[in-house]
């Protein structure tokens, strides 16, 4: 146990010093030095609770994805059967209650319908799982239900897109170093350090930005609209709440025959030259431009509604076909709202609505205060502990204390190297690790003392001490690892930060408190050859 060949000594020192060296940039920064650019200097990141900033947890509703899929299938089935030759007539179509149902008017054509829609219901994945189940009840009523697998996959895809859209929008705000990650099946965590007022950010993320152009149903009676009754094939859409003086109430628009405004290449805030009101100028891509041209050509002199997230922005008349592939949206906007809309349209629509379910904002002063107090507590605690350990264990205590210093440096260094985040509870983790790390040395030293009392000679007593104590040290640390792992698994941000400090601390403390002190003690024993040790 006390044999340390030269190569081993070199290795141990190399690991220790390298890890400790990696702590240097972090310490230098805290002490107020600036590190020149161009030098590789990994630093410990500060969590939001120390650096200040905003944490926002966004959630999508999977049932919305489900409904979207059913409505999409509604449209696909209609189109498919319209193309069939001879055409197949269906009626009593419903996309409510989690399934698409319709009646095939001619029961003889049930098989033909099944054959026609079968390709629509196959899963896109490689698993072979079907996205839809098709049932026929009462002879001619089709019931199409999305399978859980299909829904899960659709949710996963939607969330992937949503993360991208969220990233683009936050980047457009110009905030620095946001963290955007998916969490669980249908959530996104957004963390923006330094952001004090998350209102603008939330406004931006709360906007789905689904833009639609639909024809106004001019046959609808105003009294019916007020009662919420739409003519067949139409739906009632309310006006968006803009600045004062805009149109209020609702209008009826035709369900089908509109286009989506998702094929844009650009969106920009401009000012209306007549009214000087802010508006958003959009430019379609080639395909979107062609569709828009078709819609406007076929419906000259009819009004169409510009609908954003289910609210009508405006319903202008189509005076002439718009062929240039660009258009202007005016909607009684404030400058801020117009700018948000432009950013949202540029970044693309969110595939699902996102709702804020958790939000934490920390001011910058609290974090700075916490770091300062944490450092003071750590310094005082360490000094008191060093005094205590020296008083109780003398020379062996000194080795433990040196190991302690290296331990702290190594934890910092490793945190910087693997890029983990130091949180406020993490500071407590540091202090705790310092207190707990000497436990290994206490166990070893007590054992050496006992072995001496039993009459073993110095060298043998030290050897036995390290050997016998290592079993309890190992077991005790494993239980700590189990506890810290369950913390890392369950905890969010700050708590996980604490668990990570604990885990790194357990590993480094075993290394410094057991291996390094053993090396130092062995070197001293060889050199001094004491026949008596003070313990």
């Amino acid at each position: 146990m006390l044999e340390f060949p030269r190569w081993k000594v070199i290795w141990l020192w190399a690991i220790t010093l390298l890890a400790a060296l990696a702590a240097a940039p972090s310490i230098a920064t805290v002490m107020g030095f600036t590190i020149p650019a161009g030098i590789y200097a990994p630093k410990v990141n500060l969590g939001l609770d120390l650096a200040g900033g905003s944490h926002i947890l966004l959630e999508a509703d999977p049932s919305q994805v489900r409904q979207q899929r059913i409505e999409g299938m509604d449209e696909s089935v209609r189109n498919k059967l319209k193309q069939a030759n001879p055409d197949i007539r269906i009626s009593d179509i419903s996309n409510r209650d989690g399934a698409l149902t319709f009646l095939v008017e001619d029961p003889a054509k049930v098989d033909a319908v099944r054959e026609a829609i079968l390709p629509l219901t196959n899963g896109a994945g490689l698993t072979g799982a079907r996205d839809w189940t098709i049932n026929v009840i009462d002879g001619n009523r089709f019931v199409l239900t999305p399978t859980p697998e299909g829904i899960d996959q659709a949710v996963a895809q939607a969330m992937e897109t949503a993360v991208e859209v969220v990233r683009k929008r936050i980047d457009a705000l110009g905030t620095r170093e946001p963290t955007i990650i998916r969490s669980g099946a249908n959530r996104i965590v957004v963390q923006v350090p330094g952001l004090q007022d998350p209102q603008a950010l939330k406004n931006l993320l709360g906007q789905t930005a689904k833009l639609e152009f639909k024809l106004v149903d001019t046959t609808a009676l105003q009294s019916d609209i007020q009662r919420g009754v739409a003519p067949p094939g139409s739906e009632i859409v309310p006006y968006a709440a803009g600045k004062d003086g805009g149109p209020v109430g609702s209008i009826a628009v035709k369900r089908l025959g509109g286009i989506r405004g998702d094929q844009l290449t650009n969106a920009q805030v401009t000012n209306n030259q007549q009214t000087n009101e802010p508006q958003v100028a959009i430019t379609f891509n080639t395909e979107g431009g062609a569709r828009f041209a078709k819609l406007t050509t076929q419906n000259v002199n009819k009004p169409f509604a510009i609908i954003l997230d289910g609210k009508v922005l405006s319903a202008p008349n189509i005076n002439e076909p718009i062929l240039g592939g660009s258009a202007v949206i005016s909607g009684n906007f404030t400058t801020q709202a117009a700018s948000n809309l432009a950013i949202s349209l540029r970044s693309g629509a969110l595939p699902v609505d996102l709702k804020v379910v958790e939000e934490r904002t920390v001011g910058p002063d609290l974090g700075a205060d916490s770091i300062r107090k944490g450092m003071i507590a750590m310094a005082v605690g360490t000094l008191a502990l060093v005094a205590f350990i020296l008083a109780v264990y003398g020379r062996f205590g000194m080795y433990a204390c040196i190991a302690l210093v290296f331990n702290v440096l190594m934890i910092l260094g490793i945190m910087a190297l693997i890029g983990t985040t130091l949180t406020l509870p993490g500071i407590a983790g540091f202090v705790l690790t310092i207190g707990a790390a000497v436990d290994a040395n206490v166990l070893i030293n007590e054992r050496i003392r006992e072995e001496r009392h039993r009459g073993r000679r110095v060298f043998q007593a030290v050897e036995m001490g390290y050997k016998e104590a290592s079993r309890a040290i190992f077991d005790a640390n494993i239980t700590n690892v189990i506890a810290a792992m369950s913390m890392a698994a369950f905890g969010t941000g700050p708590v996980r930060g604490f668990a990570i400090v604990l885990l790194i601390g357990i590993a480094t403390s075993v290394f410094t408190a057991v291996t390094m002190t053993r090396m130092w003690v062995a070197q001293w024993l060889r050199k001094a050859r004491p026949t008596e040790i003070a313990l």
């Binding site: 003071i376 350990i389 705790l432 007590e446 494993i478 913390m487 905890g491 604490f498």
Partner: protein, 325 residues
């Protein structure tokens, strides 16, 4: 240099003589803690019951004007605030229920936060808003669920590990002393009504790890002595093991308490409850490893036969020397 001895050499305190009264006291304390938790309840933070928490520091005041604040905030019409000091007397947290409908429209809770912070800043020039947390009922429910789950799983996992490394009786002993430590700490939170939030659960998990350290060291020694002194009666053997490890137990606990006390007195106020939980846990854990974890082995009938003798050459030599003497 003369070294400091925390206990004299060859200390032989008959700890186990008092095992029954101490067990009764501990069980009563546990029952009292549980009773308090269920009657008085834990002061659950927004992490676990949802709502909004605003932290404010009054930088120029020695003490936060809690009384006037309560009236001012209530006048805003968002309901009754829970205002509590944490850390220093000039640091407070204000907790509110989320307004009706905030589950669908998070703008409502934003508006509440804005209204309240603007009002405080207008009426108190030195008020510094340190943070706003809004947690929806759904998320808080999940957090509570996973907190309870992780505590339970962690306790079972470490107990299973002890069982694996020792014997089943030791696993039960470890689990029992864990439950004891966690229950008493919960009792502290019920008595003091310190805010119980996510970090406290982290503290309890830490405690599970650390309070077991002492238990493991004592158990390790008991196992060793069981192999060594095969004819010694259990109570005597347990006393011997506890006494042999007593200096270590004290040295380690004191080391932890020294650093924790520094953190408690000088550290950031935001984690005061967290530090308090761990500090109490270390105290209780030290006690429970002696009075909870060890005596239970007698009642669970651990004997030297519980272990297959696996003495090595050196131990055998020692035993023969002892028996010869």
């Amino acid at each position: 240099m003369k070294l400091l001895k925390l206990v004299p050499d060859n200390t032989n305190i008959k700890f186990l003589r008092w095992r029954v009264p101490f067990y009764v006291i501990s069980l009563l304390l546990m029952a009292a803690s549980l009773g308090l938790v269920f009657t008085k309840g834990l002061n659950l933070g927004v992490d676990f019951i949802g709502g909004q928490m605003i932290r404010v520091t009054f930088t120029q005041s020695a003490e936060a004007p809690v009384g006037p604040l309560r009236g001012e905030i209530e006048a805003l019409g968002y309901g009754e605030p829970i205002i509590q000091r944490y850390g220093k007397p000039n640091e407070i947290s204000i907790r509110m229920k989320l307004p009706e409908g905030a589950d669908h429209d998070s703008g409502l809770s934003d508006k509440m936060a804005r209204t309240i912070t603007a009002d405080i800043k207008a009426k108190h020039a030195d008020a510094r808003v340190d943070g706003v947390d809004s947690v929806s009922g759904k998320v808080s429910g999940e957090l509570w669920h996973s907190a309870v789950l992780s505590l339970g799983l962690a306790a079972l996992a470490v107990a299973a590990y002890i069982w694996l490394r020792f014997e089943w009786q030791f696993g039960i002993g470890a689990l029992f002393s864990l439950v004891h430590d966690v229950t008493l700490t919960l009792g502290l939170f019920a008595v003091t009504q310190l805010e119980f939030d996510l970090t406290i659960v982290a503290a309890l998990l830490t405690l599970i790890g650390y309070s077991l350290n002492d238990t493991i060291v004592v158990y390790d020694r008991i196992r060793e002595n069981l192999k060594k002194y095969r004819k010694m009666p259990m109570p005597e053997l347990l006393d011997l093991s506890v006494n042999e490890t007593l200096h270590r137990t004290l040295a380690t606990s004191l080391s932890m308490l020294i650093t924790l006390t520094a953190l408690l007195l000088l550290g950031p106020g935001v984690i005061f409850g967290f530090t308090a939980a761990i500090t109490l846990g270390i105290f209780v854990g030290t006690y429970s490893s002696i009075y909870m974890a060890a005596p239970i082995l007698i009642w669970l009938k651990v004997t030297s036969k519980s272990f297959v003798p696996t003495e090595n050459a050196l131990e055998k030599q020692e035993r023969l020397a002892r028996e010869g003497a």
